[in-house]
C-alpha cells in the first residue's frame, strides 16, 4: 500500500501528511478485519465517540488509540462496510470484524425522467456533482459551476458580465447547421426546462441563458448524461445529452432552517499590454481633436509644451470593482407522511463594466405527501424574477478603442447632462445612457403522482410547466436639446420586446418488476411523454423622440412592429427493460417512438432503440485486495432528431422595410423547406470501464465513444439562381469520437484528515464526414477584421468543425504556391515584396487559408480537497488546450496603435524573409507613418498597411490553464454553538479565476461574442472581458 500511496502523493504535488493521535490516558489497540474474508482492512476510521479524537488503521489493519475513561466507545467506519460501535470497557485490545455493507457500491444516480437507478446497473457513463461542489463554485450561473469538473463537457462562458450566458457542449458538436442548438437538455426534478439564449438584436448585450434563472443553492445534485444511451428515453430533445438536476427536499423528523449569505467582489483578470508612450494624433504628430487615439507624438515630448498632457490608462480607469450579494434562506422539514422544502433567495450583482448589473430573486416551495405506503404526491413551484441592465459591451470596448490615450475617459459628462467629448463618442456616456434592460418573470412547476398498487407494479404521472415572460426595453437617447451638444444619436429610439414562452411536459410511466428466480430480476417500464411548447414574441420600435428624455413609444415619430409565433409538439412512447442477473450482469434495452409536429405527417413518426450492458466482473472473479470493484460497460444507441418548426414549406415574408407608404411588400423566403424531410439520426457506440482499487481509495472511470449523426436536417446552401439560398434537407454527416477519463483518489484518510483528488480529462475528435454533393463548405459565422482581415469559421468535408479562414502573409515556395494550397504553412519564410510602394514589406495573401481550428485538443480539470477537522480546502485547476480563436480586440488594437508591440513604430527594420527569386530580403524599411528617415513615403505605416490586414496575426492559440476555484472553509465546532440557536455554522472564502496561464495576449481568452445560443465560438469579438472574483460566505443552520 505504501508503495502506491507515496508515489501518488508525490505525483499530485502534495507532501504526505500524517495524522497524529493525541496522547490520552490509556492506550487501546487492535486489528480490524473484514467479516467476509477475514482479511485485514487498512485505512479504517477509528473514532472516539463524542470527541474529535480518532485514528486510522495502518496497512496491516492495526490501530492504536488513547482513551480517557472506561465509558469510552470506539466507532469504526469504512467505505463499503457497516459502521460498528465498540464500548471499550476495561479492554486494552479491541479487535473488530466489519460487516460488508449490503448497500456496498450501490450508488444511486438519477437518470431519465427522474428515474433513480443504481449506478452499478448502468451500461453507460454518467457523472454526478453534489450540492457542496456546486455551491463551492460560487457561480450565479449554474452552467459555469460545471467548468472543469465534468469529463466530456466543454463549458464556454460568453464573458464576464453579470447574468451573461454560458454554453455547454457534451461530447462535441453534432450538427452541421450553423444555427443548430448543440446544447444538452436541462431537466429539473424530472421536468425539462428551457435553456434558450435569446440575444439582443442590435449591438451585443450579453443576454442570459435561461438556466441562469435557477438558484444553485436549491440544487441537491446534478447529473450529466453524456451519450445517446444515457438519454435514449428522453429522445429527440436530449439528442445532445442531458443535465439532470435534483433539487433539495425536506427530510422527515427534522425541521431545518438554513441561511446562506455571501458577498463577492470581482475585477478583470487579464488586460492586454498597452503602450503608454504615444498619444492622440497621426504620423507622430500631436493633435488633441484628432480621431486617431494613439498614432501621435510621444507624451513626454508634448508635455514640454503642454504640462497637463498625460497618458490615461483609460481601459482600466473605465472598469470598476464588481460586487455581488447573494442570500438564500431555506426551511425544510416534515414528518413521516409529509415533507417540505421552501427557499427564498436574492442575488444582486454589479459587473466590472460601469452600469452593468443583474439580479435574481427566487422563491421555491416543494413538498411530498405520502398517503399510506401506496401513494405519494409531490409537487414543486419555483418563481423567479431576473434581469438587469446589459451594457453595450461590444460597442463600449470599440469606443474605448477609438478614445484617445491622452484624453481622460472618466470625464464623460457635462454639468447639463450632455456628453463631454473632444470629438469621439465617449464609451462611458454611451454605456450609461444607451440602456438595455430585461425583466424575466418565470415559474417552473411540477406535480407528481406515484401509486404502487402492488409490489410488482407502480404507476407514475408527472406534469411539469415552465412559463416565462421576458420584457426587454432598449433606449438610445436622442439629443437633449442643448445648443452645441454631441448626442449619441440624432434621433434616438426605444424598442420594446416581449417574449412569452410556455413549455408543458406530461409524462406517464408504468413500471413492472418481477424476480424470475433467485438470480434474475426484471424491470419493465412503459411510458408516454408529451412536450408542448408555445412561444410568441412581439417587438415594437419607435424612432426619433419628439420630447427629449421622455422614453415612450408614443413619443416617437416612426413606429415599426413585428411578431413571431412558434409552436412545437412532440409525443413519445417508450419502453425500457432492465434485466439484472445475479447483481453482476445488467442488460438494458430501450425503445422510443416519437411523433413530432415539425416533420411532414408521413415522416413524423420515428423509432430508435438502445441497448446497453453492464458487467461487474469483480463479482465473478476471485476477490482481490487491490481491485475492489470492476465493471465493463458497452452500449449502442440511436436517437432521432426532428426539425425546427415550419421548416417544410415555401413561404413568403414581408421584409422589415414594410409597411412603407401604405404598402406591405412580400418576398419569397429564401429558405426552402423540403416537404419530404425525415428525422435525422445519431448512432453511437460507447465502451467503458469503472474500476476501483483498494476499497475505493482509487477509482478510475474510462469511456470511449463514437457517434455519427447522419441525414442531418440542415439548411444546405444552394445557388441563389434556384430562387432560394438555402434548402432545408437531409444531408451530411458529422462524427465525434473521444475518450473521457475520471480519476478519483483518496491518498490520505485519517479520522481528522482526508485528502481527495478528482481528475477529469476529455478529448473529442470531431470530423465533418460529408456535407452534400456539390456543396464545398458551410459558413458557421464570420467576424470583421480591418483591411479585409475578416475571419470566417467554416465547415469543410474531412476536417473538424470550425476551421478558421483568413488572410495571411504570403509564404515562399520555390516553385510557386501549390494550386490547392488550403492551409497556412507558417514555418515557411515570408515572401517580401521586392519593388513598388510595398518594397521590403511582407505581401498579404488575399486567398483565404486555414489559420486554425476552434475545437480544443483536450480539456480537463483536477480538484484537490482537504478536510481537517472543521477545515476544508479545495482547489480546482482546469485546462483547455490546443484551441484557436480570432482575437478581434488585437486586430483593432493594432489598427489604432494601442498595444506595446507597436512601440517599435519608429524603428527601421529588415523583415526576415525572401524575395520572389528566393534571395534573402535586405531592404530596410521604416515602420512609421508618413515620410520615413530616408525620404520614402510610408503612408499609413506598417501596422495599418500590413499588420492589421493579415488575419494570421490575430488567429491565436487560446489555450489556458486556470486556477479556476480555490475555497477555504471552516465549520465551527458544535460545542461552540451550544449557546446559540444554530446547529451548524460555517465560513468560506472562495476565489475564482485568480491564476491564468495562457499564450494569449489580452483579456481572458475564455469569452466569445456570439453568446451561448451561437456556434461561432472562435470569435472573441469585443466581448465583455473575463473576471476573477473573491467571495465570503456564511452558512448557518438552525
Amino acid at each position: 500500500m505504501k508503495h502506491f500511496f507515496y508515489p501518488l502523493a508525490v505525483i499530485l504535488g502534495m507532501g504526505l501528511l500524517s495524522a497524529q493521535a493525541l496522547a490520552q490516558n490509556r492506550t487501546v489497540s487492535g486489528t480490524v478485519t473484514s467479516l467476509d474474508n477475514n482479511e485485514t482492512l487498512p485505512g479504517v476510521n477509528v473514532l472516539l465517540q463524542g470527541t474529535s479524537t480518532g485514528t486510522v488503521t495502518d496497512i496491516d489493519g492495526n490501530y492504536r488509540i488513547s482513551v480517557n475513561s472506561e465509558d469510552a466507545v470506539l466507532l469504526f467506519s469504512f467505505i463499503g462496510y457497516e459502521a460498528q460501535e465498540q464500548p471499550v470497557g476495561n479492554r486494552s485490545e479491541v479487535n473488530v470484524a466489519l460487516q460488508p455493507s449490503i448497500e456496498q457500491l450501490s450508488e444511486v444516480v438519477v437518470t431519465s425522467f427522474g428515474i433513480e437507478q443504481e449506478k452499478e446497473a448502468l451500461g453507460y457513463a454518467v457523472q454526478e456533482l453534489q450540492a457542496e461542489e456546486l455551491s463551492q463554485a460560487k457561480q450565479p450561473n449554474l452552467i459555469n459551476a460545471l467548468q472543469g469538473r465534468v469529463a466530456g463537457v466543454q463549458i464556454t462562458s460568453a464573458g464576464g458580465a453579470p447574468g451573461m450566458s454560458s454554453r455547454i457542449i457534451i461530447r462535441g458538436i453534432t450538427s452541421l447547421d450553423p444555427n443548430a442548438n448543440n446544447q444538452p437538455l436541462f431537466v429539473v426534478d424530472g421536468v425539462p426546462i428551457d435553456n434558450s439564449t435569446i440575444e439582443s438584436e442590435g449591438s451585443p448585450r450579453g443576454a442570459s441563458n435561461r438556466v441562469a434563472d435557477l438558484n444553485p443553492n436549491d440544487i441537491e445534485s446534478l447529473n450529466v448524461l453524456k451519450g445517446a444511451a444515457a438519454t435514449a428515453l428522453y429522445g429527440v430533445r436530449a439528442a445532445n445529452g442531458a443535465v439532470i438536476i435534483t433539487t433539495k427536499t425536506g427530510k422527515a423528523g427534522q425541521m431545518k432552517v438554513n441561511i446562506n449569505s455571501s458577498v463577492g467582489f470581482e475585477a478583470i483578470n487579464s488586460y492586454p499590454n498597452f503602450q503608454e508612450r504615444y498619444g492622440q494624433g497621426f504620423s507622430g504628430d500631436y493633435n488633441d481633436t484628432d480621431f486617431w487615439p494613439s498614432w501621435g507624438a510621444p507624451v513626454p515630448a508634448v508635455q514640454v509644451i503642454e504640462p497637463d498632457h498625460q497618458y490615461y490608462d483609460n481601459t482600466r480607469n473605465t472598469m470598476r470593482t464588481g460586487k455581488q450579494i447573494d442570500n438564500t434562506v431555506s426551511i425544510s422539514g416534515g414528518n413521516e407522511s409529509a415533507t417540505f422544502y421552501a427557499s427564498f433567495a436574492n442575488l444582486q450583482q454589479d459587473g466590472v463594466m460601469p452600469f452593468s448589473d443583474w439580479g435574481r430573486t427566487s422563491a421555491k416551495l416543494s413538498g411530498k405527501v405520502s398517503m399510506g405506503d401506496r401513494l405519494d404526491v409531490t409537487g414543486s413551484i419555483n418563481y423567479i424574477n431576473s434581469g438587469g441592465n446589459r451594457v453595450p459591451h461590444d460597442r463600449m470596448m470599440e469606443r474605448l478603442m477609438y478614445w484617445a490615450n491622452t484624453q481622460d475617459v472618466d470625464d464623460y459628462i457635462n454639468p447639463d447632462g450632455t456628453q463631454h467629448t473632444y470629438g469621439n463618442t465617449n464609451p462611458i456616456y454611451d454605456a450609461r445612457f444607451a440602456t438595455y434592460e430585461d425583466n424575466v418573470n418565470r415559474s417552473i412547476g411540477n406535480l407528481n403522482l406515484n401509486y404502487r398498487p402492488t409490489d410488482w407494479f407502480s404507476i407514475q404521472y408527472r406534469i411539469g410547466t415552465d412559463f416565462y415572460s421576458d420584457q426587454r426595453t432598449e433606449i438610445l437617447p436622442g439629443p437633449i436639446g442643448i445648443e452645441g451638444e454631441t448626442p449619441l444619436s440624432s434621433t434616438g429610439f426605444i424598442e420594446e420586446r416581449r417574449i412569452n414562452s410556455r413549455d408543458i411536459n406530461s409524462t406517464l410511466n408504468l413500471t413492472f418488476n418481477h424476480t424470475f428466480d433467485e438470480k434474475l430480476d426484471a424491470s419493465l417500464r412503459l411510458g408516454n411523454d408529451i412536450f408542448d411548447r408555445s412561444r410568441n414574441e412581439l417587438n415594437s420600435r419607435g424612432d426619433e423622440f419628439v420630447i427629449p428624455q421622455f422614453y415612450n413609444l408614443g413619443n416617437t415619430t416612426q413606429i415599426a412592429t413585428g411578431q413571431d409565433l412558434n409552436e412545437r409538439r412532440l409525443v413519445g412512447v417508450y419502453g425500457d427493460l432492465l434485466l439484472n442477473y445475479d447483481n453482476f450482469l445488467y442488460l438494458n434495452i430501450t425503445g422510443r417512438n416519437d411523433w413530432s409536429s415539425t416533420l411532414p405527417a408521413e415522416n413524423r413518426s420515428f423509432f430508435y432503440p438502445s441497448v446497453n450492458l453492464g458487467f461487474v466482473f469483480t463479482e465473478v472473479m476471485e476477490a482481490s485486495n487491490i481491485l475492489s470493484y470492476g465493471k465493463f460497460r458497452a452500449s449502442y444507441a440511436e436517437v432521432g432528431k426532428d426539425a425546427n418548426p415550419y421548416s417544410t414549406a415555401i413561404t413568403y415574408t414581408s421584409p422589415d422595410i414594410f409597411p412603407l407608404n401604405g404598402q406591405v411588400g412580400f418576398t419569397r423566403n429564401s429558405v426552402f423547406g423540403t416537404p419530404d424531410l425525415k428525422p435525422e439520426r445519431t448512432a453511437s457506440v460507447e465502451l467503458g470501464a469503472d474500476l476501483r482499487f483498494w476499497n475505493n481509495r482509487l477509482s478510475l472511470d474510462v469511456t470511449w465513444y463514437k457517434s455519427n449523426s447522419r441525414d442531418q436536417i440542415i439548411p444546405v446552401p444552394v445557388s441563389n439562381a434556384t430562387g432560394f439560398s438555402r434548402l432545408i434537407t437531409n444531408a451530411g454527416e458529422i462524427e465525434n469520437q473521444g475518450i473521457e477519463l475520471i480519476l478519483g483518489a483518496t491518498p490520505l484518510q485519517t479520522a481528522d484528515f482526508s485528502w481527495d483528488v478528482s481528475l477529469n480529462f476529455s478529448r473529442n475528435r470531431n470530423r465533418v464526414v460529408e456535407i452534400r454533393e456539390g456543396i464545398e463548405t458551410i459558413v458557421i459565422g464570420d467576424q470583421f477584421g480591418y483591411a479585409s482581415s475578416t475571419v470566417t469559421m467554416r465547415l469543410i468535408e474531412g476536417d473538424a468543425y470550425g476551421n478558421l479562414y483568413g488572410r495571411s502573409y504570403e509564404r515562399y515556395y520555390p516553385n510557386g504556391a501549390p494550386e490547392d494550397l488550403n492551409v497556412l504553412d507558417a514555418d515557411r519564410p515570408l515572401l517580401i515584396s521586392s519593388s513598388g510602394s510595398d518594397a521590403g514589406f511582407p505581401i498579404i495573401n488575399s486567398d483565404q487559408l486555414v489559420l486554425g481550428n476552434a475545437q480544443p485538443d483536450w480539456v480537463g480539470g483536477i480538484r484537490n480537497t482537504f478536510d481537517y477537522k472543521g477545515w476544508n480546502l479545495s482547489f480546482l485547476i482546469d485546462a483547455r488546450m490546443g484551441i484557436d480563436q480570432f482575437d478581434q480586440y488585437n486586430n483593432f488594437y493594432s489598427a489604432f496603435g494601442k498595444l506595446d508591440y507597436s512601440l517599435n513604430r519608429n524603428d527601421v527594420v529588415t523583415f526576415d524573409g525572401v524575395l520572389e527569386d528566393g534571395s534573402p530580403n535586405t531592404q530596410e524599411v521604416w515602420l512609421g507613418q508618413g515620410i520615413g528617415p530616408e525620404g520614402r513615403d510610408y503612408s499609413a505605416g506598417f501596422y495599418r498597411n500590413y499588420y492589421r490586414g493579415s488575419s494570421e496575426n490575430f488567429v491565436k492559440d487560446a489555450s489556458y490553464i486556470k486556477l479556476r476555484n480555490i475555497s477555504l472553509g471552516y465549520t465551527l465546532p458544535r460545542n461552540w454553538l451550544d449557546a446559540t440557536p444554530f446547529s451548524m455554522a460555517s465560513l468560506t472564502a472562495t476565489a475564482n479565476n485568480i491564476i491564468l496561464w495562457t499564450p494569449w495576449n489580452g483579456f481572458d481568452p475564455e469569452s466569445f461574442s456570439a453568446g451561448a445560443g451561437g456556434n461561432a465560438t472562435a470569435f472573441t469579438g469585443l466581448g465583455y472581458p473575463g473576471v476573477r472574483s473573491l467571495f465570503f460566505t456564511l452558512n448557518l443552520t438552525l
Binding site: 411578431q563 419502453g575 425503445g591 415550419y646 407608404n661 418576398t667 444552394v718 445557388s719 508618413g930
Partner: protein, 473 residues
C-alpha cells in the same frame, strides 16, 4: 439490428396500445403562422418595384469605382483597384427580385391580371439586363423555381434576346387593357401608370439595343424607333422615391461617412472632369452632386491610392446629405428622360442624323441639370459655353460620352458605356495599385460570386475579369 429494431417497435406500440393516428390532429400545427404560403399580387409588386431601385443603387455601388465616380479612402481597396471580388449579396439581390417577379408572373397570369403581368415582365427584363451586363452568362432557363439545385448557365447573347422578348411581352400585356386587377400605389415606380410603363418598356428596348453598338447586330434606326415610343418628358422618369423611414441608400453612405464609417468619396477623375482641369471649364453641377472640403473646394481622391495623409473628414469631396443624390428622400433614378436623350444622340449620330443627335445631346444635358436643380441661368450659360455648344457638325461621340458620364453619376449604366467606349474618357487612367492580373487593362466583367462557385461550381463558367462580354467587342 433492423430486425431487432422492428420487433422492439412492434412490441412497444402494441404494448401501449397507442397508434400513430391518435395524435395526428394534435400534431398538425406546423403551418407557419409568421409567413404566408401565398403572397398577394400587390405585395409582390410593392417589394419588387421598390427593391429594383435598391438594385440599381447596389450595382452603382460597385460600378462607380470602375468608372471612377467614387474612390476608396483606403489604399488598394479591392473594388477600387479592380481586384476579383465576389459580390454575393448583389447577386442574391438580383436573383431574389427576379424570383419574386417570376412568382408574380405566374400568379398574375392565373388571375388574368394582365397589367401586373406586363409590369412584372418589364421590371424583370430590367433586372435581367442589369445582371447580364455585370456577369455575362447567368442561369435563367433553369432558374427561380428550384427545378434543379444546380442550374446551368445560359449564354449572355441568347439572354439579350430574352430581355427584348420580355419587354415585348410586357408591352403586349399592357396593351390588352383587360386586367382583372389594377396596379396602384403598390407600384413604387409609377404608381400604376400603365402609359408610363409602356413608354419605359420602349425606352429600355432602346437602351439594350444600343448596348449592341459594337456588334454586327447594331441597328441605330431600331434604337431610334424605340426612342420615339419612349419617354416623352422628364415627367416620365422611372425612379423610386425614398422616405423618412427608409432612406435613400446613397444617403446612408453619406451618413455613415459622416459617422466615420468611410465611404462615398469622390474620385479625382470625376472632380477633374467637372472642375475645369480636364475640359477647361467649371461645371455648375458640382455643388449639387457632392460636398466640398472644409475650405470649400472640391478635391477628389485618386482611385486605388487611398486618402494618404488626409484625415477622415474635411479634406476630400464626398457624398453629402445635402447633395441631390444623397438626400434621405432622394429618388434612385432607374431610367431617365436624359438617359434616353443621350441614347438618342448616340444612335442618331451613328445613323448619320447629326441634327437630331445634337439636339438630343443638348436636351440630355439640360434635362439632367434641371433634374438636379441647376439654376436656369447656369444651365443656359453651360449650354452656350463654346466647349459644349459645338454645333451639330462638330458633335462627337466623345462629347456625348463625356456629358452622359456626368449626367449618369452613380448609375451602373455608365459601366456599360465605359466598356463600349473602351474607357476612352479624357484623362481616365488606371487606378493606383491596379490589379496586376489585369495586365494594365480595365476591368470588363465581374467574377462569379462565391455562392455560385461553392454551391454550383460545376456549372460556373471559367472567366476572368479581363474577358469582355459578348457585346463588348
Amino acid at each position: 439490428m433492423k430486425y431487432f429494431t422492428n420487433t422492439l417497435k412492434t412490441l412497444l406500440l402494441v404494448g401501449l396500445g397507442i397508434g400513430a393516428s391518435s395524435c395526428e390532429d394534435y400534431l398538425d400545427i406546423n403551418v407557419d403562422p409568421n409567413n404566408p404560403t401565398v403572397a398577394p399580387l400587390s405585395g409582390l409588386m410593392a417589394n419588387a418595384s421598390f427593391e429594383t431601385g435598391n438594385n440599381v443603387q447596389d450595382l452603382g455601388g460597385i460600378t462607380s469605382f470602375y468608372v471612377q465616380y467614387l474612390a476608396s479612402p483606403n489604399p488598394a481597396s479591392s473594388t477600387d483597384i479592380q481586384d476579383e471580388v465576389a459580390y454575393d449579396d448583389t447577386w442574391f439581390n438580383m436573383y431574389n427580385i427576379m424570383t419574386d417577379l417570376s412568382d408574380l408572373e405566374l400568379q398574375a397570369e392565373e388571375a388574368g391580371a394582365t397589367d401586373y403581368l406586363g409590369v412584372a415582365k418589364i421590371i424583370k427584363a430590367l433586372n435581367l439586363g442589369m445582371t447580364i451586363d455585370m456577369w455575362g452568362d447567368i442561369p435563367y432557363n433553369d432558374a427561380f423555381f428550384a427545378q434543379t439545385l444546380n442550374p446551368t448557365y445560359d449564354d449572355d447573347e441568347a439572354l439579350y434576346g430574352e430581355v427584348q422578348q420580355l419587354l415585348d411581352e410586357g408591352i403586349a400585356q399592357l396593351q390588352l387593357g383587360t386586367s382583372t386587377f389594377t396596379v396602384g400605389d403598390d407600384d413604387f415606380i409609377f404608381g400604376g401608370d400603365i402609359a408610363q410603363w409602356l413608354k419605359t418598356a420602349h425606352a429600355l428596348k432602346a437602351r439594350y439595343l444600343l448596348h449592341l453598338s459594337e456588334t454586327a447586330q447594331y441597328d441605330p434606326q431600331a434604337v431610334l424607333a424605340q426612342v420615339d415610343q419612349g419617354l416623352s418628358s422628364p415627367e416620365d422618369d422611372a425612379q423610386v422615391d425614398y422616405y423618412e423611414e427608409e432612406n435613400n441608400p446613397w444617403s446612408i453612405v453619406a451618413q455613415n461617412n459622416a459617422d466615420l464609417l468611410l465611404g462615398g468619396w469622390i474620385s479625382e477623375q470625376l472632380i477633374e472632369a467637372m472642375d475645369g482641369t480636364t475640359y477647361g471649364y467649371v461645371d455648375p453641377r458640382q455643388p449639387l452632386m457632392y460636398g466640398t472640403t472644409n475650405t470649400g473646394s472640391f478635391v477628389g481622391t485618386t482611385n486605388g491610392a487611398g486618402r494618404g495623409d488626409a484625415p477622415e473628414q474635411g479634406a476630400r469631396s464626398t457624398l453629402v446629405e445635402d447633395s441631390y443624390y444623397a438626400q434621405e428622400t432622394a429618388p434612385i433614378l432607374i431610367f431617365t428622360f436624359f438617359e434616353q436623350k443621350f441614347i438618342e444622340a448616340e444612335a442618331a449620330l451613328d445613323a448619320g442624323d447629326r441634327n437630331r443627335a445634337y439636339q438630343a445631346y443638348l436636351f440630355g444635358i439640360g434635362a439632367h441639370m434641371l433634374k438636379i436643380g441647376v439654376a436656369e441661368t447656369d444651365i443656359e450659360a453651360y449650354l452656350n459655353s463654346p466647349a459644349v455648344a459645338v454645333g451639330a457638325a462638330n458633335l462627337t461621340e466623345a462629347l456625348i460620352y463625356k456629358e452622359k458620364y456626368i449626367a449618369m453619376f452613380l448609375h451602373p449604366e455608365t459601366w456599360v458605356d465605359a466598356r463600349r467606349y473602351d474607357y476612352q474618357y479624357e484623362n481616365m487612367t488606371l487606378p493606383a495599385n491596379h490589379n496586376p492580373s489585369l495586365n494594365g487593362q480595365f476591368i470588363r466583367r465581374l467574377v462569379y460570386p462565391d455562392s455560385e462557385t461553392t454551391r454550383n461550381g460545376s456549372n460556373v463558367p471559367d472567366v476572368s475579369l479581363a474577358d469582355p462580354l459578348w457585346w463588348d467587342q
